[in-house]
Symmetry: C2
DNA sequence: CGAATCTTTGAATCCCGTCAATACGCGTGG
DNA sequence: CCACGCGTATTGACGGGATTCAAAGATTCG
């Protein structure tokens, strides 16, 4: 894990760091004094694109909180190809599995773009969880939501056909963005993997949707939904 | 939800109940006094086979802890067929999603056999979580493990072929049991769904494995692994 | 600007799901 | 305890949708 920039000591950095910590959902219920205490233990780092945060087999000892950037969490299947589990963005954290389990992780975490990430050692997190019940509760909320999402992914991959999965993804992305013009923040091959498809199939489905007049594919990763009704009927 | 047997008031029931609560992993770190406090709020019920604990759309307000029996958690996909998410047994709890989220559940929970289950109202659990950090931590552990399992299921269903999934399931069941003679505790159709397969495909794969001399199918749901090496190579 | 990665398109294959019919076995009720 | 009945399991044939392999085209990033 290379290239860390540690800002320690000087009061300005300290203050900025505290404001950074205050924006972390995980610590949103803490008082100012408590935030300051957390801020003193947190280590901000900046990672370039395609930096591996940790990999399978390692014993990662840090909870990492994303301030800016995008992180891909994936696993290498027995068959040998990459399966994307989830994409994490600002406010999300990762590295909690080893915090709770202590065994080696079985997946990989890589930045998809330049990212600013705060690291908090598991020992410190442990004391916070025991001291501030709100922190434990926030973690429970997050894990519970992730579990629900992963279960949803599972039943989708197991039960629905490719058309349905692609259509659902587009509709959800549109709903999340609030527009009918969505921009895939990540590579199509990663979206495909997230949906349990090959890049080829994903590409074909999008082409078929455009053919049917339901969407328009713009340059790059821009997609415009023309007929959400038709998509939701798949 | 019919047929509840409430044992309240009389001291013997109280004591037995306390011993019951003491065996719940979720409360394993509590002191005797604290266990007694929890026991006073817990409601034991006995459910017959095929009883629905809760269903999609409901606002279940209880954490349910399985003392004995087996519970199937599943979801109905958009396509309309049942997708088994997980099977829960003694010591496991369910109903935590509404505890954390308050929104309606999107899945179903049904007993697969006669089950004794303790119900604990979410309000009580809330106070325990805030009062006893160990309880929150135990919940974190459990959710984290479930998340890891579900992620594993996901990448398996998305990436591996049917042979590999069936073989892996058999091997894991064997490893968990400690024997090479395993007994599927649940219906094959449910195992198939858990693996993201149709019952027909599951049946065919087992037949093919027997044909190849890797396993022997005995009466009922008994399977004997003859060549674990061959199975692990799939 | 250039190269590596991602994306698209085509054609062939194959694995798995679907439908259907039969056999089995478990759990229920008498 | 036994017999009945329904849900479960098996087996076959078939069709389809997704993957695979391959190669050309586009985009992004250094």
């Amino acid at each position: 894990m290379g290239g860390m920039h540690q800002h320690l000591g000087h009061p300005e950095g300290e203050n900025a760091l505290e404001q950074l910590v205050a924006r972390i959902p995980l610590f949103s219920q803490l008082s100012d004094a408590e935030l300051g205490e957390v801020a003193r233990r947190v280590t901000p780092r900046s990672f370039p694109r395609n930096a591996q945060l940790y990999g399978a087999g390692e014993h990662n000892a840090n909870l990492m909180i994303i301030h800016s950037g995008l992180v891909k969490v994936y696993r290498i299947t027995d068959a040998g190809h990459e399966q994307v589990i989830r994409i994490l963005g600002p406010g999300d954290f990762l590295g909690e599995s080893t915090f709770i389990d202590r065994s080696a992780v079985d997946h990989f975490a890589v930045t998809l773009e330049k990212s600013d990430i705060c690291a908090l050692h598991h020992d410190d997190l442990h004391s916070y969880v025991l001291t501030f019940p709100g922190v434990a509760f926030k973690m429970l909320e997050t894990l519970s939501r992730r579990l629900a999402e992963t279960e949803h992914q599972l039943s989708s991959v197991a039960g629905d056909d490719a058309d349905h999965r692609v259509a659902t993804y587009l509709l959800e992305a549109s709903a999340a963005a609030g527009t009918e013009r969505i921009r895939l923040g990540i590579a199509k091959k990663d979206v495909a993997s997230l949906l349990g498809l090959t890049p080829e199939t994903f590409s074909r489905k999008l082409a078929a949707f455009e053919e049917a007049g339901w969407i328009t594919l713009h340059r790059g990763r821009d997609i415009e939904l023309l007929d959400t009704r038709a998509l939701s009927l798949l």
